[in-house]
């Protein structure tokens, strides 16, 4: 892979799709880290925490400041979604949904930065590859969805007890006949595993495709024609505006499905 985009759209895009992995034991090995995804996602996560925390610390029940009102609007919106689906104690699920929504939204919003901006900045510091959108990295989307899966399993055990959930895994949905235990279990396993896969693949697919379209449009800038350049500018703006919708919807869907999965874990079959 070329370290510099030297003409050619394919190379330009391929360059942009490369993660920054300075620590790597072997090519393709597990023990390497996408520093770019980690940095951006952690930065945004910490920013989210500090932002909401600063408002939460000064939260008054009197007349709220504009900042507090904004934070409250987001929180009430999330709380309303949780309330619609889940009829239990919302003290864990509420914050979880809030974290998912805001964090995913912020990470998705990195897509709206000019596609070359962060890579150009890091390039000044000698880092050749930098991908700005953590949600376009399967590692991050799967990290979130697997955590959600673990929470689903945890809450299944918590709500139904160890015996209850095990019993349900083997006896639902077909019946309690011993011959049906294996089919039941396999079906439940598929159902369980399909949750994180669909969650993470949906988010990843949307963000990856969105990033790719931005790159393709950005490719028009260096196509060598003023007409194509103009088309690129307009296309970039149009796709950017449309993408605002996509990033919001994807953050919303991820949050709602998280709520649904965890509230399903509380339901008895």
């Amino acid at each position: 892979m070329a370290s510099e985009p030297q003409g050619g759209l394919t190379e330009y895009i391929q360059h942009h799709l490369h993660h920054f992995k300075p620590v790597q034991i072997s090519e393709g090995g597990f023990w390497s880290v996408h520093i770019d995804s980690l940095t951006v996602s952690l930065f945004l996560g910490v920013a989210f925490c500090l932002w909401f925390w600063s408002k939460a610390r000064k939260a008054t029940s009197g007349v709220p400041s504009k900042g507090q009102a904004f934070v409250e609007i987001i929180l009430e919106f999330v709380d309303g979604q949780v309330k619609d689906v889940f009829h239990g104690d919302r003290r864990i699920l509420g914050p979880l949904a809030l974290t998912v929504f805001v964090w995913v939204f912020l990470m998705n919003a990195m897509d709206l930065l000019p596609v070359d901006l962060l890579p150009w900045i890091t390039h000044q510091f000698g880092i050749g590859h930098f991908r700005a959108v953590p949600t376009a990295d399967l590692n991050l989307t799967f990290a979130m969805s697997i955590t959600v899966l673990l929470l689903v399993i945890f809450y299944s055990f918590k709500a139904k007890g160890f015996g209850g959930y095990t019993h349900e895994l083997f006896t639902a949905p077909f019946g309690a006949h011993p011959l049906l235990w294996i089919p039941n279990f396999l079906l439940n396993l598929v159902e369980l595993l399909s949750k994180p896969v669909s969650l993470s693949m949906r988010l990843f697919g949307n963000m990856y495709a969105g990033e790719l379209v931005f790159m393709l449009i950005a490719g028009l800038f260096s196509a060598g024609s003023w007409i194509l350049y103009g088309m690129g500018v307009i296309g970039y703006a149009v796709w950017g505006i449309f993408h605002i919708l996509i990033i919001s919807i994807q953050a919303f869907i991820f949050m709602v499905l998280t709520i649904v999965y965890i509230s399903m874990a509380h339901d008895h079959h």
């Binding site: 390497s32 925390w53 939460a56 979880l96 990290a143 697997i146 955590t147």
Partner: protein, 156 residues
């Protein structure tokens, strides 16, 4: 696309973010929201109560005004009655005073007439004596005939 340790790192990061949100963000903000909801509910209740109280007070004021008007009318009535009574009494007093004064005047007149009559009788007596002495041409002893002359004067 490949999976690597980023996955684990992100899972830990995600868990920490959730933990932070659960402990430091959600409770404070939702508490503030709930408290404000309570305050607003209380405020609305208070407003409703105040509204009802105002209505109550209005009707109370109307009743009081009605009562006051009634009382005022009664007072005026009574005052008029009293005034009439006073007037009547004054008139009766005046009439009595007039009667008294009239009676006193009549008494005076009567006693004055009596005195005048007696005076006249004496003068007539004296004149009669004078006349008689002139007619008789001789002195009549006034003291000797006094009894007779007095009788004469009384007869006149």
């Amino acid at each position: 696309m490949e999976f690597n340790a980023t996955l684990v790192g992100e899972m830990i990061a995600f868990a920490i973010l959730i933990w932070f949100c659960v402990h430091f963000i959600w409770p404070h903000i939702s508490k503030a929201i709930e408290e404000r909801q309570l305050k607003i509910a209380e405020g609305l209740n208070a407003a409703e109560r105040a509204h009802a109280e105002l209505k109550d007070a209005d009707s109370k004021v109307a009743a009081e005004i009605k009562q006051a008007r009634q009382q005022a009318a009664e007072i005026i009535d009574r005052a008029q009655q009293q005034a009439n009574q006073i007037l009547d009494k004054a008139r009766a007093d005046a009439v009595a005073e007039i009667n008294r004064l009239k009676a006193a005047a009549q008494d005076d007149i009567a006693s004055m007439a009596q005195r005048a009559r007696e005076e006249l009788r004496e003068r007539v007596g004296a004149l009669a004596v004078q006349g008689a002495s002139k007619i008789v041409q001789r002195e009549i002893d006034a003291s000797a005939h006094k009894a007779m002359l007095d009788q004469l004067a009384a007869e006149i």
